[in-house]
Assembly symmetry: C2
Homo-oligomer: 111 residues x 2
DNA sequence: TCATTACGTTAGCGTCCACTAACGCATTCC
DNA sequence: GGAATGCGTTAGTGGACGCTAACGTAATGA
């Protein structure tokens, strides 16, 4: 299967949340599913995608499947973001902060 | 129109690249399209999405449309990522670096 | 053993997404 | 003015995505 882009895979809100939950330690599919409104199945599929992207790994124990973060994959994710977030962007955001009085629209919501 | 999640929108590879290109200053659709293999139309649509997500703004001049980054939106993007990347994740990645157990390419540091 | 329950994955399906093709609209050239 | 050219956007489509429903399978218990 084609190599999945970790950054793109991790960006989906449910998957973002899954990664955060897994930051607290390994968990089973159902444990994780309890934190979501969507079904166990949906969560499972998100986990499989994260696995394909190299962001998590699974461990089988009895009839449970424990997922945990893959440190190397997460490192790669961080690398990709840092590569994206150039110093130019840092500068831009810093400038925006200094000019505090932004005549632009409200940053928390769109029209 | 539903509120778009900036992080999800920005994650797509072509759009990531567009944002990086725009970090260098405002550009027209065709200028940007020159940097891509996909059509001007595709680039235009990506830009419209970025605009909806509040990451870029457009300025009309003659028959050209100059796009540039929206500092507030980019700031929000950074905030979302920092919110995602908890200290726990920092710890995880730091530990992985120390243990040098990186079976993947690019092991920039050894134990 | 055989039924029951629990866990996770595949099957199936509607929707959204990214793209090319076709278009509208300005501007330029004659 | 009218054709030609250039810029950007809409129309239309194949494929991927995210979900629920159905399934396979492992563990439990009578």
């Amino acid at each position: 299967m084609t190599v999945l882009d970790p950054l793109e895979v991790a960006a989906e809100p449910n998957r973002r949340r899954l990664l955060q939950l897994l930051a607290g330690g390994e968990k089973t599919v159902t444990e994780l599913a309890l934190e979501f409104t969507v079904s166990r199945s949906a969560v499972s599929q998100h986990l499989l995608l994260l696995e394909q992207a190299g962001l998590v790994v699974a461990r089988k124990e009895g009839r449970n499947r424990f997922y945990r973060l893959d440190a190397a994959g997460m490192n790669e994710l961080r690398r990709l973001f840092d590569q994206f977030w150039t110093s130019e962007l840092d500068q831009l955001v810093a400038d925006a902060g200094r000019h505090a009085a932004l005549p632009l629209h409200n940053p928390k919501e769109k029209s």
